[in-house]
């Protein structure tokens, strides 16, 4: 799947339903606005504000899916609801404001946090669809993220064992050109652009070396080359699985802050 392919929805029906709901919301907004001046504090403006709050509270309940998945069936349904309702929540917030710039710091904070949370969520959805597909297509090895450092260590040991009785030339080649690249996990952002980035260049020394060694050592060079490729696969896994785990940092804390500010916003509205 290309990065563009990752934009295709998994459940097109949900996309259509969300689109339809958005159209209805905009229609209601247009009608309400035509009937009376728009205010977030009363009438339809307030209704949209309340609706946005309810949806945001539901969005915040996403971690409860493990214990309470039953009413919505599967975790997949929870995620689908989380994603699509999140988009509708942002639209409800915008309608609540009457598509006007907020008046104060609190208003701006709420609006920007809503937008940020939604956009980072959608970026996360895209990453979650794109990265697994490129990993499945481009890598031969599959590994658990937590075990990757140990697996790398294992590869080094395997490679060390291969050259124990090797010729001086091969041992020197291993020590100077190979071992250093095997010794530790080497994550790289480049892998986001191409999971096979740097592979040809990394294999070039092996191809050169294989022409110089004795026939009985060619097998060792081939094995070292395989180990190097597996190591690169592990590097890619470490980089991309790391991204899949860490993108939540830009999504969850702002969402928690949004929730806290929302509580203050509601209290302020109730008091004043």
């Amino acid at each position: 799947m290309g990065s563009a392919g990752a934009l295709r929805p998994k459940q097109p029906r949900n996309t259509w339903l969300t689109g339809a709901a958005a159209a209805v919301m905009l229609f209601l907004y247009a009608v309400a606005r035509a009937i009376a001046p728009w205010s977030p504090k009363r009438g339809a403006g307030l209704v949209f504000g309340v609706a946005a709050t309810v949806v945001i509270v539901f969005e915040m309940a996403y971690p409860l899916r493990r214990a309470r998945a039953r009413p919505l069936g599967t975790a997949q349904r929870w995620l689908q609801a989380h994603v699509y309702l999140g988009v509708l929540a942002l639209l409800a917030v915008l309608i609540h404001t009457g598509f006007r710039a907020p008046g104060g710091l609190m208003g701006w904070s709420l609006l920007l946090l809503s937008a940020w949370t939604t956009v980072t969520g959608l970026v996360g959805v895209w990453l979650q669809k794109w990265l697994p597909a490129v990993m499945a297509e481009g890598l031969r090895v599959e590994a658990l993220y937590e075990r990757i450092p140990a697996l790398v260590q294992h590869l080094v040991e395997e490679a060390d064992a291969l050259v124990v009785n090797a010729s001086d030339a091969l041992e020197r080649f291993y020590t100077t050109e190979v071992r250093g690249r095997l010794a530790a996990v080497e994550p790289s952002w480049l892998y986001l652009l191409d999971v096979r980035a740097g592979r040809e260049r990394a294999l070039e020394p092996f191809r050169r070396m294989i022409t110089f060694v004795d026939p009985e050592e060619k097998e060792i060079v081939n094995d070292l080359m395989t180990i190097r490729m597996e190591k690169m696969d592990l590097d890619v896994h470490y980089s991309l699985q790391g991204v899949l785990r860490r993108w939540l940092i830009v999504h969850v804390p702002p969402a928690a802050l949004l929730m806290a500010l929302l509580v203050l916003h509601i209290l302020a509205w109730a008091v004043y």
């Binding site: 799947m1 998994k10 975790a75 995620l79 697994p132 597909a133 297509e137 599959e142 590994a143």
Partner: protein
Amino acid sequence: MSDTSDRAALRQRYERRMQLMVPAEADLLARQALFAGIPEKARPKVIEKVRRYIHLVRFEEGDIVLREGEYSDSAYYVVEGGAEVVLTRESESRPLLRGGAHVPGAQRPGARPEAAAFIGRGAAGLSGTVMLSALPAELTTGNKTLGPGEIFGEIGALSRYPVSATVRARNPLTVLQIRLPGLRMLLASSKDFKKSVEERYRQRVLARHLRQVPLFARVEDAFLEDIKRRAELVSFEPGQVIAEEGSDADAFLLVVGGYVKVSVRAGSSDLALTYLRKGDYAGESALLLEDQWPFALQALEHVEVVKLTREMFRAVTAAYPDIEDELWSQAVARLKARGALKRNPVSSEYVQMAMETGLIHGESVLLIDLATCTRCDECVRGCADAHGGEPRFVREGQKYRRWLVPTACYQCTDPVCMIDCPTGAITRQVGTLEVTIDQPTCIGCSNCANRCPWGNIIMVEKDEKRADGKNVEVATKCDLCLTRPEGPACVQMCPHGSAVRISFKDLDRVTSTLT
């Protein structure tokens, strides 16, 4: 009694049993009638070869030798004393028995219809399956006594059906426990022994097995008796060719044990079309069309086949036009599949993979689509939540194209893990898929874990000390979240729908899911 003392007592009994189990001496074996059928010249050599698979086991009065519903890989030959075969009345305890994977979901006691989607059994997968297990094959009800010179358990061991009756020591009992490889050696070496086993199988089991094959379900008893009398029973070694593509077809074959690969030649390669298992048959296309074998058949493991001659086959189709119709439908479907495979050879890839890896045994195999899996481990967390914090599978395993086969129990059709559990802790209830381990009864002997060919049973240390100061270990495995009405948590908790469970019985679904 607490779980701890239960476990200690069970372990003590197991250790005592192991002490009572000694390798059989050649002299003792040579005296047994069991070996009389082997030509005298060859006898010492055969005994020497087979001896390592034979143990002399002693049982106290009342001890259970074989438990109804369990799987066994051994035959027992009575040397001294008496054994009592006890068959419970069907109405009494049938649902509590172990064994029996071949029952459609709707017929399963306590089945979870809402979980059907998670356990991967489409209706198509159930066609042609037979319920051969856990039925009273040899007796109706009541007890029977076996004395010196008599053998029991051989049919279950050879056919891998659950034991059909409990056998216990009537008085102090000494038996030769003959493990499956030894049993097979004996069958190959002694014509008399082979003949007697075949005869017993024919007399006691064959008619019942034939009756349970849908094809023969409507055949009259007298007709079935005739088939039973005249059918030939043939065994094949793993890898042995059963039929060559293009050779003359002279028989209809009904598989009663093991797996058979069905393949076609395409250029220099051999394309896997499908596989046959218990209750499946082959040969109908060639016999109906009066043609040669359109496929090659090869034994994937030890295979037991019932062979009907062309004449018997014709007699069946002449007497039962509806059977002939069914066979024609099957023949057309197979020939169509053969044509499709030849046009698109790549489609055989997953069938071939399933055969090579043993996935064909799986009734509910967990697969993860790596192209959509975000490696979030929600499946593992869901599993742990459902099992008191201890996950029952590892998200690591073989990768085939974009699919990962994690280290999770396949819930095999013939669960070899259930053979040799000394306490009966590992069970499968009649008509269910789930092979479960009762933790309080498990003594941590590792027999099941060692037997699982795929390492899908994991030994876990408990916070409980054994008498020798070491931590108690118990075997754990996936139980398909037996107590969750929603079905397996791994599938339900995957936010991306990447975790699926499929039965490799249902080849259509396997192919459509994986490709």
